[in-house]
C-alpha cells in the first residue's frame, strides 16, 4: 500500500467502514463494471431502507415471531465450574433453521423486496445459509436459486434436500475446486447476467461494500440482545470476553458488533486450524493468508505465491473458506481482536464434551469456539459470552463417524 488514503482512520472506530467500504486497509468494492449498477443501488439504498420505521417494524416482528428471538443467554454452570469462571452461551442454535444465518437472510429478503427484486440467488457451503435463504424465499414467495459446489452437494445431502423441500433450485458449481468459493463465483456470475430483477443474498460479512457492513448490521441483533440480557443477569452490559468462531465471520461480527469500540471487552475469534496451522490442510486465514482481493473485497486471503486462491481445509464446512471478512481482517491487523485457532480434533473433542456437560450438541463450527476457551486463562472474575452459533444436528454424520458408530 503506497499512499495513506486507505490507511486506518481511527475516528470511525472498528464498527463502521468508511464511505468507500474500508475497515482500515481492508474492504472496498473490487467488482467488474457489470456489477456496478447492482452494488451501487445497494450502497445507496441499504442504510436508508434499513432506517425506515416500516422496515424495522417488519424485521423486528419476523425476528420475534418467525425466528424466535430474542434467543436466550444461558449461564453454563458446569462449564463455568470447570473453567473456574463465568461462561454464558448466546443460544443462536435455537433460531429457526438452527443457526444465526437466518438473521441476515430475513433482513436481506425484506431489503430485496423494497428494491423491487423478484429473484433471489445465494451461495452456500455446508448448506446452512442456503437453507436460511430458501426459508425466507418460501416465506415471502420469491424465486430462489442456490449455488453450491458439486463436492458440497455430495457431502451435504440432507441440506440439499431441505432446500429443495423449501422450493429452491440448487445449481451445482462445477468450476474450479467445486466448493464454497466456486459457488460464490457462480452466484456472482449469475448476478452479472441478471442485473435488473435479481438480488444476491451473501451469507457472510464478505463480498464488495456494502455487503460486509450490511450483513454485520443484520447480525448485530446478537450483541444487542447480549447487552440487555447481560445487564439483567450481572448488572453490567459488558462481559470481559466475547468468543466466536470465524470462517467468513458473520456470527462473530454479530456477537462483537456492539462491543467493537468498547475496548475493555476482549474479542476472541477462533479460526479452523484443520489438521494444524502448518499442515497444509488448514483454514486459519489470519495465520496463513496475505492481503489480497477475493470475491469483491480486499482482505486476508489464503493464496499461493503467484496469487492463486488455495482451497482451505476444515472438518467444518462453515469455516472452510480461504478468506475472512474485512472487518475481522482489520481487527486482526490492528490487534483489537484476539485470533486463536482450533484443530479438527480439538473441535470434535469440544463438541462431545459440551454435549455431555451442558446437554447441548453444538455445530462443528461453534465447537471451535468452545475448544479455545481453555487457552484464555480465565479467572473467577471474568464474564465470558460464547456465541453458540448453530446446533449440531447437521453434523451428526461427522460426529457418528468420529464416535465409531
Amino acid at each position: 500500500m503506497g499512499t495513506n488514503v486507505l490507511e486506518p482512520v481511527q475516528e470511525i472506530g472498528f464498527q463502521n467502514p468508511n464511505e468507500h467500504g474500508y475497515y482500515g486497509s481492508f474492504g472496498g468494492a473490487y467488482i467488474p463494471e457489470m456489477l456496478q449498477r447492482n452494488v451501487a443501488e445497494l450502497k445507496e439504498g441499504y442504510l436508508k431502507i434499513m432506517a425506515e420505521p416500516s422496515f424495522q417494524e417488519e424485521f423486528r416482528q419476523l425476528l420475534k415471531d418467525y425466528v424466535g428471538r430474542p434467543t436466550p443467554l444461558f449461564y453454563a454452570e458446569r462449564l463455568s465450574a470447570e473453567l473456574n469462571s463465568n461462561i454464558y452461551l448466546k443460544r443462536e442454535d435455537l433460531c429457526h433453521t438452527g443457526a444465526h444465518k437466518i438473521n441476515n437472510t430475513i433482513g436481506q429478503i425484506l431489503l430485496a423486496r423494497r428494491l423491487g427484486k423478484t429473484r433471489i440467488i445465494a451461495e452456500t457451503g455446508a448448506g446452512q445459509h442456503g437453507v436460511a435463504t430458501a426459508t425466507v424465499c418460501a416465506l415471502k414467495g420469491m424465486e430462489c436459486i442456490v449455488y453450491m459446489g458439486e463436492k458440497d452437494i455430495e457431502r451435504q445431502a440432507p441440506n440439499v434436500a431441505r432446500m429443495k423441500l423449501l422450493g429452491a433450485t440448487v445449481i451445482p458449481a462445477v468450476s474450479g475446486s467445486k466448493t464454497l468459493k466456486d459457488a460464490t463465483n457462480e452466484a456472482i456470475r449469475d448476478w452479472i447476467n441478471n442485473p435488473v430483477d435479481t438480488h444476491y443474498i451473501i451469507g457472510s460479512v464478505v463480498g464488495p461494500h456494502p455487503y460486509p457492513d450490511m450483513v454485520a448490521r443484520f447480525q448485530s441483533v446478537i450483541s444487542e440482545e447480549i447487552r440487555t440480557q447481560l445487564l439483567e443477569k450481572t448488572g453490567s452490559e459488558n462481559p470481559t470476553h466475547v468468543v466466536a468462531c470465524v470462517g467468513g465471520g458473520s456470527n462473530a461480527a454479530g456477537a462483537f458488533y456492539h462491543y467493537l469500540d468498547e475496548l475493555s471487552v476482549q474479542l476472541v475469534a477462533v479460526e479452523a486450524a484443520g489438521h494444524g496451522i502448518t499442515s497444509g490442510m488448514s483454514a486459519a486465514t489470519t495465520q496463513l493468508g496475505k492481503s489480497g482481493v477475493l470475491h469483491g473485497s480486499k482482505s486476508l486471503v489464503m493464496q499461493t505465491e503467484d496469487g492463486q486462491v488455495v482451497e482451505p481445509h476444515s472438518i467444518s464446512a462453515g469455516l472452510d473458506y480461504p478468506g475472512i471478512g474485512p472487518l475481522h481482517a482489520n481487527l486482526f491487523k490492528s490487534g483489537r481482536g484476539t485470533f486463536l485457532s482450533a484443530t479438527d480434533e480439538e473441535a470434535l473433542e469440544a463438541a462431545f464434551h459440551i454435549s455431555k456437560i451442558e446437554g447441548i450438541i453444538p455445530a462443528l463450527e461453534t465447537a471451535h469456539a468452545f475448544a479455545a476457551l481453555s487457552r484464555l486463562n480465565l479467572t473467577p472474575n471474568d464474564v465470558v459470552v460464547v456465541c453458540l452459533s448453530g446446533r449440531g444436528d447437521k453434523d451428526l454424520a461427522t460426529y457418528m463417524k468420529a464416535m465409531g458408530l
Binding site: G2, Y30, R37, N185, I188, N193, P195
Partner: protein, 255 residues
C-alpha cells in the same frame, strides 16, 4: 504516442482485438499464437493472465484459465515468454484480476510489463476509486494505457468519467453479462449508438458476444472495432496446430 493510439490512428474502423489466455492450450503456445495473430490481421492482442477465480469470465474462458494454471503459467513466466518475442506488430495488452497482480507487486508488475513491450492493461476488478487514489499514477508512470469497461447499465455520467480515466480505448461490454454469453445482438445496437453519439475521447471496442464475421461486422458499424475471446478459445480447444487453427479462425472473421 502509445502503440494503442497508433493502432487507432492508422485504422479508425474494423480494429480487431483477439483475446487468448496465456499458457493455453499449452504453456508455450503464447508466442506462436501472438506471431500468427499479428501476421494475419489482429491489430491488438489481449493476453489473459490466468486466475483461479475469474468472476467476470464465462465458463469457456474460465476453463482455459484452469488449463493454463495447470500448465504452470504465471505472470513471471508470461513476462519471460514476451521477452523472447522478436517482432512486435500488434499492440499487446494484458487482461487479468487484481489478486495475482497485487501478489506480484503492483509497481513491479507495471515496470516489468512495460519492459517486455506490453502496451496496456485491463483489470476488470480494479474500481475507479482505487484507480484514482492509488494505482492509476503507477500505471501512468510506466507509460501503460489503462482500459475501463462500460456496459448498457452504465449511466452516461459514469461512461464519461470512465472514458476520461481510460486511455488507448474504451471497452464496451455489449450486454451485462460474463464473457461468452450469446444474447441478441440487435438489442445492443441502441446502446452502441448511444455511446457513439456521446463523442467520447477514446475509440470504442465492443466485446462479449462477438463470435464470427457477422457479429464482428455488426459491432464495427457502431464502434471502432471489436474484441473476440470466447469463440477463439473454443477454436483453440483440442487444437494440435495452433498456427493453423489461428489462421483459419482469422480468415473466418476477416475474409
Amino acid at each position: 504516442m502509445s502503440k494503442l493510439s497508433e493502432v487507432f490512428k492508422n485504422k479508425s474502423n474494423n480494429v480487431l482485438n483477439v483475446y487468448c489466455t496465456a499458457g493455453y492450450p499449452q504453456l508455450d503456445s503464447t508466442l506462436a499464437i501472438i506471431n500468427t495473430l499479428q501476421a494475419n490481421g489482429a491489430d491488438i492482442i489481449e493476453l489473459g493472465m490466468p486466475y483461479s477465480d475469474p468472476l467476470a469470465d464465462g465458463p469457456v474462458i474460465q476453463a482455459s484459465s484452469s488449463v493454463a494454471l495447470a500448465n504452470g503459467m504465471t505472470i513471471a513466466t508470461l513476462f519471460k515468454q514476451l521477452r523472447e518475442l522478436k517482432e512486435k506488430k500488434a499492440a499487446i495488452i494484458l487482461m487479468g484480476y487484481m489478486n495475482p497482480v497485487l501478489q506480484y507487486g503492483f509497481e513491479k508488475f507495471c515496470a516489468d510489463a512495460a519492459a517486455v513491450g506490453v502496451d496496456g492493461l485491463i483489470l476488470p476488478d480494479l474500481p475507479e476509486y482505487e484507480y484514482e487514489t492509488e494505482y492509476g499514477a503507477i500505471i501512468k508512470k510506466y507509460g501503460l494505457d489503462f482500459i475501463f469497461l462500460v456496459t448498457p447499465e452504465t449511466s452516461e455520467e459514469r461512461v464519461r468519467k470512465l472514458d476520461a480515466l481510460s486511455s488507448g480505448f474504451l471497452y464496451a461490454v455489449s450486454s451485462s453479462s460474463t464473457t461468452g454469453n450469446e444474447k441478441d445482438f440487435n438489442a445492443v445496437e441502441k446502446y452502441l449508438e448511444r455511446l457513439q453519439s456521446m463523442k467520447l475521447k477514446n475509440p470504442i471496442l465492443v466485446g462479449f458476444g462477438i463470435k464470427d464475421k457477422t457479429t464482428f461486422s455488426a459491432a464495427c458499424k457502431y464502434a471502432n472495432g471489436a474484441i473476440i475471446g470466447t469463440a477463439y478459445i473454443k477454436a483453440l480447444e483440442g487444437s494440435t496446430n495452433v498456427e493453423q487453427t489461428t489462421k483459419t479462425f482469422l480468415e473466418g472473421i476477416l475474409k
